[in-house]
Amino acid sequence: MTSYHGMFSALLILVPVLTFILLWIALQGPVVDRITMAGLPEGVLDGLDSGGVQLVLAEIKSVSRGQIFGTPEDWKIAAAGRYVILHDRADWWLFAAVTILSLALLAFARSRVAADFRARQGVEGIVSGLMIFCSTVAIFTTIGIIASLSYETWRFFERVPVAEFLFGLNWEPQIPLREDQIAAKGAFGWLPVILGTIVITVVALVVAVPVGLFSAIYLNEFAPKRLRSIVKPVLEILAGVPTVVYGFFAILVVAPAIRSFGQSIGLDVAPNTALAAGGVMGIMLIPFISSFADDALSAVPQAMRDGALGLGSTRGEMMTTVLFPAALPGIVGGVLLAVSRAIGETMIVVMAAGLIAKMTINPLDSVTTVTVQIVTLLIGDTSFDNPKTLAAFALGMMLFLVTLMINILALRIVRKYREAYD
């Protein structure tokens, strides 16, 4: 019990002091900048816009670090000197302030902590306050992200009608650079884009679900222990490969292979097919699905296996008639999570899928995806208030909504299934 008294004092001192130090560090830079700029001789900043002022400040800072280019004016060198002194002094002030604050808090803590003081409640109060703070940070970040996304989406829909976006069959997000340009007005119908995402997702699932599932079934029930101890880590390595590496694999190996194979049997295959991007994405998802299925199968109680074997079923019959049905909800949940990952996957498709949105479900054709479009819309140097850029936010919003719904559904299924055996 006594340790709580010490802990209480420590927390009472540490929390405010650390907060103070963090705030100081965050504010020190801007404050020192302002003081430095305010101390410049009259008139030197006249006629400069904010960019120019920034430039002067940057120059002063680099002079203060000793990097002198050309011959700076004397007032700049003087300012740099003041800048250095200010920073040094700020460090001392910080030290002094922290010491005084600590001593004050220590005195306060001493006055609070008496033998009959209920320190445990105090500690628990402070700790739970900290935890509440941390979780609210997470929540508010999420809310902030959603809010900014919604705001930009709303700005997009001010310029482009919702119906055109939701039901339009054309996606050509060009906008005229000059008023009199004849080029297309730009079309913002997202259906071909989401269709591309769906095609690639389906291809990925066609690869990942059977392979992942069967490997999980094999590893879980049939594989000898030694093999399992080798294959499982390998699958985990597969899960750790950065998606950009999968992207390389798709464009350098899979796509050319599919293309040359297609040509050899007389098919016209696009260089960046949905098949290549989806297939490689499927490989990426294999460990994901297999580990979910493995967990679901392992969660089926031993008593079920005993029951089935005790009635004279083979391991195969046991798998198909008891284990698999019992694990199915968990497996479905895992597949749904894989779907939402496939929809949101960006790197592989940016590298291996196409850029042109087409209304097609032919996996040998080149399609584009929502994520690819978001990336291409945002990497241009257009300003942030024209429909082309804002369209990226609308797409992002739709992506967010779709994956959110899938995730909620998947988690519900998984949770329901967990309860089944408790």
Partner: protein, 265 residues
């Protein structure tokens, strides 16, 4: 001479269903069953009693080779059912388990409907040719499991939704539905109330007409009520095996006596 041997064998075949000779079981380094010899008669109920951890379940699981499913478990010695060595290479454990049914200590209905639970064995062994035949098998098994009246109106509901006692009777019915020759029951009544226990005991007595039943129990009264033969296990040894009446009235080994009078256990 030749004739005599044949007669001897005939007698053996009708009388003895299972013979075990110097059976030893190891779980890794744990020596769970030590040199057990036993003859289990056909059309009788044999009870295994003994303190917890003495190896009753382990020995029971040897009889349908369920120990095969445990990696670290090693069984040696000879176990014959109908004079056929069940550990011989030519014996398929899957077939064996269809012939030697098992009811586990903890009820373990499949997460399927009551009907599908019962129909599980008959389906995988192809015991029925038509749906109506399967219906009949299911009804008969549920009646024998003394649970028909309680579930006949909800055969399509999940077996896991039944009470613990009902689940156990469902599992007994499920084992019976496969028409085994030997039925192994590992503490089948530990989750049942006295009424359900009485029903199961009645059922066991009835099953004796056709099967050889081996039951593990912690209840001395139950062993006395349902069994004709009783085996007392202690620390992996088969200490005493005799007619039930004899064991309970006139045990020859002091350990048996202390156990049944409640001094060890």
């Amino acid at each position: 001479m030749n004739n005599m041997r044949k007669i001897e064998r005939d007698v053996k075949m009708t009388d003895t269903k299972i013979t075990a000779r110097s059976v030893n079981v190891h779980y890794g380094d744990t020596h769970a069953i030590k040199d057990v010899d036993v003859n289990i008669a056909d059309k009788t109920v044999t009870a295994f009693i003994g303190p917890s951890g003495c190896g009753k379940s382990t020995f029971l699981r040897c009889l349908n080779r369920m120990n095969d499913t445990i990696d670290i478990c090693r069984v040696t010695g000879e176990i014959k059912i109908d004079d056929k060595d069940i550990n011989h290479k030519s014996v398929d454990p899957v077939q064996l388990r269809a012939q030697v049914g098992m009811v586990f200590q903890k009820p373990n209905p499949f997460p399927k409907s009551i009907y599908d639970n019962i129909a599980y064995g008959p389906r995988i062994h192809g015991l029925s040719k038509s749906k109506s035949e399967l219906d009949e098998i299911v009804e008969r098994a549920l009646r024998r499991g003394a649970i028909w009246d309680e579930v006949k109106d909800r055969l399509d509901q999940p077996g896991t939704g039944l009470s613990g006692g009902q689940q156990q009777r469902l599992c007994i019915a499920r084992a019976v539905a496969t028409e085994p020759e030997v039925l192994l029951m590992d503490e089948p009544c530990s989750a049942l109330d006295p009424i359900a226990t009485a029903q199961v005991e009645e059922l066991i007595d009835e099953l004796r007409q056709d099967y050889s039943v081996v039951i593990v129990t912690h209840s001395m009264q139950q062993a006395a009520r349902v069994s004709q033969k009783t085996a007392f296990f202690h620390l992996g040894n088969l200490v005493e095996f005799n007619d039930t009446g004899e064991i309970f009235t006139n045990p020859s080994d002091p350990r048996t006596e202390s156990y049944i009078t409640g001094r060890i256990g």
